[in-house]
Symmetry: D2
Subunit: 309 residues, 4 copies
């Protein structure tokens, strides 16, 4: 049930579950035993990158976030600037870049400090623990940016294409029933601590067929998917759309599902995942390793999750 006054859903949350000082949230659900078990059931050893390239041309544009830019820091033409006390072979030099990009661009993960509600972050930390220069004093990406674990792909788009002949509708709200139907069809087992990957097909196709003012509309996880996620003890949710949740937002609540998952339950979110290759291989059970940039106090990071089949 939605509590409009507090801006949250009236349901069990995870605040305090791992102690009042916890800044890692549902990542606590991933155990070394589960990681080991996931490693031991590898089938192909095939390695998948779940990231798209970072450039203005390749990332989906998101409201008010500038495009990622790579500038040149130095090249072999700068070799004269090197201290002259080394011998420098013919044509020897180095090319280096400087990167300027939003933390939440392309394939990226949200730190638990990313969204606020009712003046708090996850676990009840005060929202004003985030400041412009200091960044996130609580729940910065340095706390959640490093993890690995078993991940299960629910190819909702593939499931619907196979069963109905057409995929998700633009802006369709995905609920627990649809997730369960997909899971059952795939015969995928989900265990506590698993990372859940949901394929909508959006990143592959985007909405180039729609007029520009509708191109940002996307299917995604609605409020009624929270039960599935919560009951299965999911640690991380990733999807191939822009916000995990649908756009327009379910029940018209701005960042509503972010609040349910990230803010209330401490579930790390990963967006703009490239799930097409896993889906094409029918690879629904992977060992996933995610290494976000450990930028002190950042509220998210571009990531290149590596999956092993």
């Amino acid at each position: 049930m939605w509590d409009n006054d507090r801006g949250i859903m009236m349901s069990t949350n995870n605040w305090g579950r791992w102690g009042e000082h916890d800044q890692r949230g549902a990542l606590n659900l991933i155990t070394p035993e589960a990681v080991k078990a996931a490693a031991l059931r590898r089938v192909t050893g095939k390695v998948y990158s779940l990231a798209i390239q970072l450039s203005k041309a390749t990332v989906p544009a998101v409201h008010d976030r500038p495009a990622p830019e790579r500038y040149t820091l130095s090249s072999v033409a700068d070799i004269g600037r090197v201290p002259p006390f080394f011998e420098i072979g013919e044509g020897v030099g180095a090319n280096e870049d400087v990167l300027v990009m939003p933390s939440h661009i392309g394939t990226h993960m949200d730190a638990l400090s990313h969204v606020t509600s009712a003046s708090t972050l996850y676990n009840g930390f005060p929202a004003d623990s985030f400041t412009p220069r200091g960044g996130a004093a609580k729940c910065g990406i340095e706390h959640t940016g490093s993890f690995a674990g078993p991940a299960k792909l629910l190819d909702v788009q593939g499931h619907l294409e196979a069963t109905t002949g057409s995929g998700l509708a633009t802006g369709q709200v995905i609920d627990s029933a649809l997730l369960e139907a997909c899971r059952a069809k795939q015969d995928t087992t989900i265990e506590v601590g698993d990372i859940l990957l949901v394929r909508t097909g959006w990143l592959e196709h985007r909405n180039s067929h729609l007029p520009p003012e509708q191109a940002w509309m996307q299917a995604g996880l609605g409020f009624d998917s929270v039960e599935f996620i919560s009951d299965h003890g999911i640690s991380v949710v990733g999807s191939d759309n822009s916000a995990i949740e649908p756009i327009p937002f379910d029940r018209n609540q701005f960042l509503g599902v972010h609040i349910e998952l990230l803010h209330q339950r401490g579930i790390t979110l990963i967006e703009h995942l490239w799930l097409a290759d896993l889906a094409a291989d029918g690879c629904y059970d992977v060992l996933l390793a995610v290494g976000g940039l450990l930028v002190t106090g950042a509220t998210g990071s571009p990531v290149n999750p590596i999956a092993i089949g």
Copy 2:
């Protein structure tokens, strides 16, 4: 033998070995079978991050590279800028950052376009295929930024501390004999395609005991370590120092070992790795996943390699 005219070692290189169009180099040596085998021999399932935090205070300063900066892109205070057609709960908003950082700062990997010699990149691609705006048209990070494989840690510093009572000397040149002695002592098996991690202890201790003008001096892999690396068919070399190679450079050759490994053999390099935790656990055989930022045309990327014990 060193050829001063061409600025390279006169030894077998890997150019053409994987075809004239290859931009992935020795990463080709990692097979799915080896990845699977590495997964299947997991012992603890413990997950290690091999990265340090990215901030001015935490990364080693490197000549002419600015410090990494996190700026605030937006916070909950900007909520009024959101299009008003959604309902916004009390205190609901989002914190976002913009990141400005060199590609080669903190824990980072080198793309095969990072160093040039004799007007070429790895595999003979012309050095001028890199341009300021375009970046690397050949051997950009998008070609090597995603991999996983078996990694073997040679704790050279720990080995020397145990056998001699003192560790590596400042600026000491590590050679094949020392690597082999360490490997034998650890009883570590190295196979073709393995990722080699070399711990010098530098990142943990830095050189705070030295006067500032010597603080950048570091032990590292010298020319005489290339044989060990080459003979074992190593795919990737990572270390906890600033340049893989020693500083001052071995034989006074600027970037000499970079040229031998990265430019001649297409061996991806990872620097400023945090290897203290693996060493403390005596964990010398890990499954390593590396997801660099796939910035189109970049010559490197900060990374957060994830190791599983």
Copy 3:
């Protein structure tokens, strides 16, 4: 006459005119006496800014140049980061920004290192004196970024509207005859060392009436305007369009008029000037002060030229 081999016009240039080491070009033509005389003939004392605001929303987009961005460096919310040895009054703090922008965005000036031809910069300096990290070792903005002098506005657009009933055609090439006709109609005296401002009306109206693929088409100074500029001993040319010259380029020569003026004659160029207010006041003779950012080695700078009527 155009010399296709050398990529320059076969006409008198200014190389060597002020010495082989000169990096200031035609700015040498402005004398203190002329500045004083311009000051002494002030009529109104009215102050005009000739710049437009710098933001994504306000600057014309130019091929491959990112939009200017202002990020927040710190705000009063960061007050806790200030060293605690001062007393801090209630609510006392500071807001600060970090600016990320191309040097050639919005209203901006070109340094003499901006364009190259035949492997040279202005005055014959080698083109490779510019390097990615070092920037312009010759003719950087620090040499030309500071000047003041008499400026004469030729309101070509206003002249044509008054005499023909319609203004410049999209992409029209302005020649010496048109400049002279406008000058004569305005009864404006031009003296050696004067700054020439040419109003095309483009910045005020842009080409919103044209389809996007033509919106960048602009009237500007063609090759046949060089005689007028050269004969009058103009020190600086500014206009309200994107390139001083027309787009598409006159005679289809990429940057052809840049080469004639900036590269051959050392004439500083200022683009995207806001000339509407001067034109509306019929103010054709101003004292103009231009203070570019003296970024060491930069090839241009956004500027806010201040004119006094």
Copy 4:
């Protein structure tokens, strides 16, 4: 008298003086007549830049502000990226930069939104009108970034050197009496609306003779100089130190004089001015033009003020 509760001095301020919507403050005191009169009394026509170069090597380091950086956006090597529908002469191309810098670095001006006290900006605008993404919705630099007017230099350092044999002491607090003594000695007339430039000599000499932990100590305008500034109807105050006011702050009040001048009286401040050349010429009465970057919503801007003698 200082009011510790409100964090301001209990003295006449300028709030409301130019209307409740005013965002320009004491710049309103500069009249076209005064600008014209200043122009008409030009003596030499000599042009002075009052800015220092912008680079890590040339700007004073200020707590927590990163150094200014120039990166290369593109060079002639990128010519292949230009649309091929133009003819491109031999070696024709363009060098361009991207600038990354704090708004308050090197020679710079403060917008009236720069400092807050008691939850307000100048003229009573709410402090929270500044937000991270939006910047300053009130009193952004676009309101005060463009001005010109008569400026009077008080060479306090030169005055003290001449009269006492030594200049200002490190951290010395300059008061109204010292300003008046200097003014009288120079025989300089100050009129309402004048820009006041105060030379302490700091920028020329910095504190290289002091140990690093004291190098930031600087003489500057204290609380007891406010009377002089206020009584003379000064529009803008500029100095060659880092904060106009002394460091350590007078009476130990963080930004205390900023609040008196900028926040209470709407007086624009300019810092790190290069005043050595004016002082060397004994040029105390100039026509000053200041064109800040009109970055929408910025709280300051690097500037290159142009003075005419």
